[in-house]
Subunit: 409 residues, 2 copies
Amino acid sequence: MPAISTKGRLMPPSPIRKLVPFAEAAKKRGVQVIHLNIGQPDINSPKVALDAIRNLDRTVIEYSHSAGYESYRKGLAKYYASVGIDITPEQILVTNGGSEALLFGMMACFEPGDEVIIPEPFYANYNSFALAAGVVVVPLRTRIEDGFALPSVNEFEALITPRTKGILICNPGNPTGRIYERDELERLRDIVKKHDLFLFSDEVYREFCYDGTEHISTMTLDGIDEQVVLIDSVSKRYSMCGARVGALLTRNKELYDAVLKFAQARLSPPTFGQIASEAALQTPASYFTNVITEYKERRDILVNGLNSIPGVICPEPKGAFYCVAELPIDDSDRFCQWLLESFELDGFTLMMAPATGFYAKPETGKHQVRLAYVLEKELLTKAVECLRAALTSYPGTTTASSASEVGRH
Amino acid sequence: MPAISTKGRLMPPSPIRKLVPFAEAAKKRGVQVIHLNIGQPDINSPKVALDAIRNLDRTVIEYSHSAGYESYRKGLAKYYASVGIDITPEQILVTNGGSEALLFGMMACFEPGDEVIIPEPFYANYNSFALAAGVVVVPLRTRIEDGFALPSVNEFEALITPRTKGILICNPGNPTGRIYERDELERLRDIVKKHDLFLFSDEVYREFCYDGTEHISTMTLDGIDEQVVLIDSVSKRYSMCGARVGALLTRNKELYDAVLKFAQARLSPPTFGQIASEAALQTPASYFTNVITEYKERRDILVNGLNSIPGVICPEPKGAFYCVAELPIDDSDRFCQWLLESFELDGFTLMMAPATGFYAKPETGKHQVRLAYVLEKELLTKAVECLRAALTSYPGTTTASSASEVGRH
């Protein structure tokens, strides 16, 4: 039997999904599992999008243009204009989710062996796309005690080598909930310009900003027009993760043409998903007002609850719908598995994503977990109760002070 | 401005789509373009699939399992049993079209620099997926005068080196329409076994067999259970190219687990497409009887028409809905562009795919074109008339005898 490839062996399993078998076993035992591990919102998709699907008047489900329907790209250009991003339909390429935009972008920009600096903790699948493209991830540590702020220019420049070809940020941040401020982004812009790098900017959580925090797109920064690669998706915006419709935006014509060739090879993004996404552009503003009010309330319940547990530290996220919490535990993988295998409170337990998968070196996230607040408030309240109780009975709980100590090194 | 990657530069443009701007210009001049360049069927998708979409009862369009809905994979396993393929739902991974199955399969099986032998002419995008995965395509020439039959064992073995890691076939064949016979497949099986190779088998045209020709899946060959990687798709079967739902099948557990990790990174195949595809499994047998009768009639009109033109050679395809024809011309790229720019007959012209994109070395296909017979019969009759007239007025038409000569070297 021939051996599988090195990439096949090294590709990391999803930290969000790897505990699924334990969750399934818990459910078979009759335990209700509260899923804070995955950013699958329970919010309804916009009615206008679902109606477009229900009123489908086609008889043949054909390929679209490889870059996506022109009518949809025109609609997207208007949407981007409404959020302050100046872009033409010919600079937008519709993809199979943000995932494909990341993969195509990396393959078109970077040689195998090129280095990309990513502030960590970062969305776990960046590791996977980098591995698929042969790109080396160079993590730049951000710290929970600083609210995961972007490090100084010096810290960035200390990592730059002749192989450095790009920087990748997620803003608003998954898993941190951080929204970068103007001075952070301008520092980034200067580095990108000075060292002639691509700047990948994953902005799929653009709509989810709380407490009046402003989201600033990298596409609005001066002087790096041809260097910014914007990654987008309808998954979270319209609670349509399963539509698998994303987009790559670039004002760099040469890069666009290269990405289009990757897109031509896979023929077309999904037709049904594009129909729903084009209709979703008509979603009324009230939809977002309601959703954001709801998420803010959920965030407050979860984050205030977490910070009320002795030894738990969780900075208040300003965007997206995740938070990273530091827990007084020996090992987040072990703890998350133990919650599913050996714990219950009134028939409930909790599923979280160990933060080990969100750092380039897993051990850095050994005392942290990522939680998504995409469930209704009663369940979040219950989740906090479960966690509080679990930390008193888990055999690997450390004292609050020592945990906070190890979390910092 | 940073440079794009080598892959980005080398990725070939789609030979099927690269003439699109010339077709658009022709349409703007009022010329009706008969599209024989692309396998986008005009056949209606099954009603049962469209109804499932129209009756959608979900309110949140969620991710599915990364391997696809379990209910759909169970349904697929039954479908495969009905065509003689013994496979479990846990050996099926649902993908974003056959395209993603090919890309994930190549990345999980092959190291960059590994060689894969592909009988040519072959589906143009194999070049693209190979380039993305860093795989070296080693073409094995098949000949129009032999009806594109699989070459002898000796011809295969002459190409095998220490870097050879796989063979990729398309059966029924795009672009040739060839269906491999049992003895051809058993020879292939013996080579794969002897040299410990992966055998990728693209069988997306399984249903499209004419004149009573039997399709034999590589999954039914003895002794290479863990080496066969089957690529499939609903695109052609149900005339649902835009659904973007394919599948990768393997009985090799280690390989399945590796491919699943690539699938987890991109989260989920499309939800809408899977709903339509699962419903499409209930398509009545009469749908296929009608479709196949229709395609056979179309094939006869096109292929008989082509062979009635002096200097044109086109072996009768037994499957799929393409044929490769040799034409008495200097250069198929130039000719296909000329048809769109400088020719019309009664307000019509013809768009074909130059076969240069279907060979590893473009010049091998310089006197050949690929034609898809996916349009109604009147248009195919008109297309043959156009081609006959065009060959008399095209400045690069060669004499019948000399063209046939050059086509053979």
